[in-house]
């Protein structure tokens, strides 16, 4: 039997819980601070404006291109490479009294002055009011997701565990947002999708540990909550490593090979998976222990009936 993680003894994960939780807390505070000070680099989907993606026939000098974009229409343009040195992404803000078509035409004129065979690969215009609605909807989606999860986990497990899982999720969302804020990475719709996927993924991890915790409380006749939680984490460790590993592999593949348009999505997932994996232990489980989870809380749940249930579904 090939094993990545093999221990016969229970590892005392919670021994390091205090310092790591403090570290987590610092991360959350740093993220919140950055969100407050630097804010988020909102992408086109949220701010409104125009994006033009161009492909030049040869590598293009961005400084030269910026020099060409000095007309009134292309005022405030952000020019950056996108994927390769031949691909350029230009973002234009919404300007009063100007049509997006005129802005695009001005950009094309400037680009053609450098390279006559430049190709316009993509143009996107989003009105500012649409973006504002999206930002509201996005925030609402995350909050609704968290509330639904709180209800589901409370119902299926116990409110202390539900609190733990939601705290862990909020932690993951805040830290991932913090990374985007600190590095000033562009936050667009795909990143929002990535963020919600992080919520789902990180919850997966938490639920797997919780399931064991519930089971072990009923199985282990001795040992306090700390021992039970430690044992549960140890038992699920090899699953956590393998699943995190395989998911990371595909997310890295997406990050490297998936193309520039889903880069943001892959980035959000990449940091979400790291944060989500350790938060299931050091935020979710630790908080549940701190809230005083104990054997009695697990007793009233109809575990036995559920076992009978399972047999009916898949004997």
């Amino acid at each position: 039997m090939l094993q990545i993680f093999s221990v016969n003894k229970t590892i005392n994960f919670l021994k390091h819980a205090m310092p790591i939780s403090i570290l987590s807390m610092v991360l959350v505070i740093a993220s919140l601070a950055s969100l407050g000070i630097k804010g988020i680099n909102w992408g086109l989907d949220f701010t409104g404006g125009t994006v033009v993606e161009l492909e030049f026939s040869k590598p293009v000098d961005l400084i030269e291109l910026r020099g060409q974009l000095n007309t009134e229409e292309s005022d405030g343009a952000v020019v950056q490479n996108f994927g390769s040195s031949r691909d350029v992404l230009i973002r234009l803000p919404v300007l009063e009294d100007l049509k997006s078509d005129d802005q695009v035409n001005a950009v094309m004129k400037g680009a053609q002055a450098i390279d006559s065979s430049v190709i316009q690969k993509r143009v996107e215009f989003v009105g500012p009011q649409v973006g504002k609605e999206l930002a509201e909807q996005g925030g609402l989606a995350v909050i609704v997701a968290l509330i639904c999860i709180l209800i589901y986990v409370s119902f299926r497990f116990e409110w202390r565990l539900a609190m733990g899982s939601v705290a862990a999720l909020a932690h993951d969302v805040i830290v991932t947002l913090g990374v985007f804020s600190i590095l000033q990475l562009e936050f667009d719709l795909t990143v929002l999708a990535g963020l919600l996927t992080v919520v789902g993924y990180s919850l997966n991890d938490t639920i797997v540990v919780y399931d064991r915790v519930r089971e072990n409380f009923l199985k282990m006749r001795k040992g306090g909550p700390v021992e039970v939680v430690n044992k549960s984490i140890t038992q699920t460790m090899s699953r956590t490593i393998i699943t995190t590993g395989t998911t990371l592999v595909v997310v890295i593949a997406l990050f490297l090979k998936g193309g520039t348009m889903i880069h943001g999505f892959a980035t959000a997932l990449l940091c979400g998976i790291f944060v989500g994996t350790y938060s299931s232990i050091y935020v979710a489980s630790f908080l549940a222990v701190k809230l005083g989870i104990c054997r009695e809380h697990m007793m009233p749940v109809e575990i036995e009936k559920e076992g009978a249930d399972q047999d009916a579904v898949m004997p």
């Binding site: 215009f125 009105g127 989606a141 997701a145 589901y152 996927t197 699953r239 590993g245 595909v250 399972q310």
Partner: protein, 616 residues
């Protein structure tokens, strides 16, 4: 006996996976270059069109792979892109302008497969290239129009009932009807209330000022908005058809927005021109009692307005609108017996009734056709919406000769005016102006690139995961890999089966992610089995316990992920929705394959036998 599935269960699993795989097959065939023929108003695509198209192409020496009628449109498949262009030209030339002939890519699914409902996944614009517009309907304008109609109604209703009123106008407090005494006010309130229950009336008299205020009820406002949106969707759909685009999408989004997607279109300027041309027609009576010189200076009665004429000069028209363009169902340019150009108009039943009543009372009087157009002024309001300018012109004045019904003609136009008026009326009028609030254009090469990137990521991720599972779990790894592959095939199959599901770039990302997360179910089960084995259980016991214990964990974990996907689907638009759909399908299929699918194989291989050692 432990670990034995009944036969029906094995068969069911096999059947489900086979059906999934079967519906995934169409995706392997790619697409044919095709020409699509759609009839515009007044024409129909029939088998005779099919025969004539076949004849045309044969005479031009263009080989037809397959030509068939499908949902009222004709799809002609040809060999390659070059033949496709030739074919379109030939067909368009001989069929004339009653048909729209467009280039199309038709799925090359074999006929027998298509007959069984097989079709490939639909690709989103980000994978196919094309333009996407999100348009917003100006509800303020729709409501303003209704208010105007109401004002005219009140006037005529009060007049008919011989209730004396001093004036009707629009104020900030609602529509105001003034009276000289309380008696008339009370009578009017009673009478109007009995006629229009969609309005809310309040007595707003102050001292000697007798005034009745009418405002629209919430329900009525909602209904107006709903109708404006529906009407605009229909009109835009008609216009999109005039554009000749294959497989366009016109959909409502929310309470006042419309999504338009035109795959393959790159000429956005033309598309916008046609979609955004918010023109409409109104028929009004000419006020011929007004002195022309006075009218030129703007001195007209309160019940009339001055408009410029297209041919020059001005015309004074009554404010009351007899009929709007909404009721027009058809319009064709033609010639009268003296070969003068005219436009034949067909009205719907309601419009016909209104028109017949109005014209009966007005025989011998001149009636004007007013053309109203909203144009993008090129400027924006502070909130980012587009400022619109309104252009109003009288395009024709004609004397009503007889009572008119549902079919009549408008004359007094020159040839080109008749042509363009007919086209405009055919395309339908927008009840309220629309503005483009979001616009995306994806080049076709970028679309292909996106697909390639997605595929590449999928292959890389998949290969690494498959190898790992194989090395780590050996025989069980093979089973997990089979489940993983079956899962991917089933996602593709289900995506192809669901009519509304569209594959987008984030959708591909969702599929890739499913590959990574789908192994979770198997890992949970296999780790449990290992644990049970280490704890000294027998092989049969270990398998049984492993599956049973992992089940609730897998269910809980997947239900919560499914919940987040559902929320994404509910709030997301376009690409994000695409991601949510693939994720939801992926969760469902991966639960099935990893729990039930692998169990079938495990049971068949090891179940109910004496096994000493398990290759896990």
């Amino acid at each position: 006996m432990l670990n034995k599935y009944p036969m029906w269960k094995n068969i069911m699993v096999l059947l489900v996976i086979t059906i999934g795989a079967f519906y995934a097959i169409p995706n392997l065939f790619g697409e044919d270059h095709a020409v699509q023929v759609v009839a515009t108003r007044g024409a129909e695509v029939t088998t005779s069109t099919l025969t004539s198209v076949n004849g045309i192409l044969e005479s031009k020496g263009i080989a037809v792979k397959r030509a068939e009628l499908e949902d009222g449109q004709l799809i002609v498949r040809v060999q390659d892109a070059e033949q496709q262009l030739l074919a379109r030209e030939a067909i368009a030339e001989s069929l004339g302008d009653k048909y729209t002939v467009a280039l199309n890519l038709a799925p090359a699914t074999p006929e027998w497969l298509e007959a069984m409902g097989g079709s490939p996944m639909k690709l989103g614009l980000d994978l196919r290239g094309g333009v996407h517009f999100l348009m917003e309907v100006d509800m303020g304008e729709a409501i303003r129009k209704m208010e105007e109609a109401k004002i005219a109604d009140f006037r005529s209703q009060l007049r008919e009932e011989k209730i004396r009123y001093a004036g009707v106008r629009k104020t900030a407090k609602g529509l105001e009807i003034k009276f000289r005494d309380a008696d008339n006010l009370a009578k009017a309130e009673r009478y109007l209330k009995s006629l229009s229950n969609e309005m809310v009336f309040t007595d707003g008299s102050v001292g000697e000022n007798y005034a009745l205020y009418a405002s629209m009820s919430e329900d009525y406002l909602r209904q107006i908005k709903e109708e404006a949106l529906q009407q605009n969707i229909t009109t835009i759909r008609n216009r999109v058809n005039e554009l000749g685009v294959a497989e366009p999408v016109v959909q409502r989004q929310g309470s006042q927005r419309i999504i338009v997607q035109l795959p393959g279109v790159q000429d956005t300027a033309r598309a916008k021109e046609i979609l955004g041309a918010t023109a409409s027609i109104e028929f009004r009576m000419v006020d011929d009692k007004v002195d022309q010189a006075a009218a030129a200076n703007g001195r007209v009665p309160a019940s009339s307005e001055v408009f410029p004429r297209r041919s020059g000069g001005i015309a004074v028209l009554k404010k009351e609108v007899m009929l709007t363009g909404d009721h027009i169902t058809g319009a064709q340019p033609s010639f009268d017996e003296y070969s003068r150009p005219q436009v034949s108009i067909n009205l719907d039943a309601k419009g016909g009734n209104i028109f017949s009543n109005v014209t009966k009372d007005n025989i011998g009087n001149p009636m004007a056709t007013l053309f109203i157009e909203y144009k993008d002024s090129g400027q924006r309001n502070p909130d980012g919406t587009v400022k619109m300018t309104k252009i109003e012109e009288v395009i024709s004045v004609a004397t009503i000769q007889a009572r008119l019904g549902r079919n009549f003609v408008i004359n007094g136009l020159d040839h080109s005016e008749a042509q363009s008026l007919a086209l405009l009326l055919r395309a339908g009028a927008l009840i309220a102006p629309v503005t483009i609030v979001e616009e995306r254009t994806i080049g076709p090469s970028l679309g292909k690139e996106n697909i390639e990137n997605g595929k590449l990521a999928m292959i890389w991720g998949m290969v690494v995961v498959l190898i790992f599972m194989l090395v780590y779990y050996r025989a069980f790894g093979v089973i997990a890999n089979l489940a993983l592959t079956a899962n991917l095939v089933m996602v593709v199959g289900v995506m192809s089966m669901i009519p509304g599901a569209v594959l987008t770039l984030p959708g591909i990302a969702g599929m890739v992610l499913t590959v990574g997360m789908a192994v979770d179910g198997n890992v949970l089960i296999f780790e449990r089995i290992r644990e049970e084995l280490l704890a000294g259980r027998s092989v049969q016991q270990a398998i049984h316990e492993g599956y049973a214990n992992a089940f609730s964990t897998i269910a809980d974990a997947n239900i919560t992920t499914f919940m987040t996907a559902l929320i994404l689907f509910a709030v997301g638009t376009g690409a994000v929705k695409g991601f949510a759909v693939t994720l939801m399908i992926g969760i469902a299929t991966s639960m099935f394959t990893s729990i039930v699918g692998t169990r079938v194989i495990v049971n068949l291989m090891w179940g109910g036998k004496r096994v000493k050692k398990l290759s896990i």
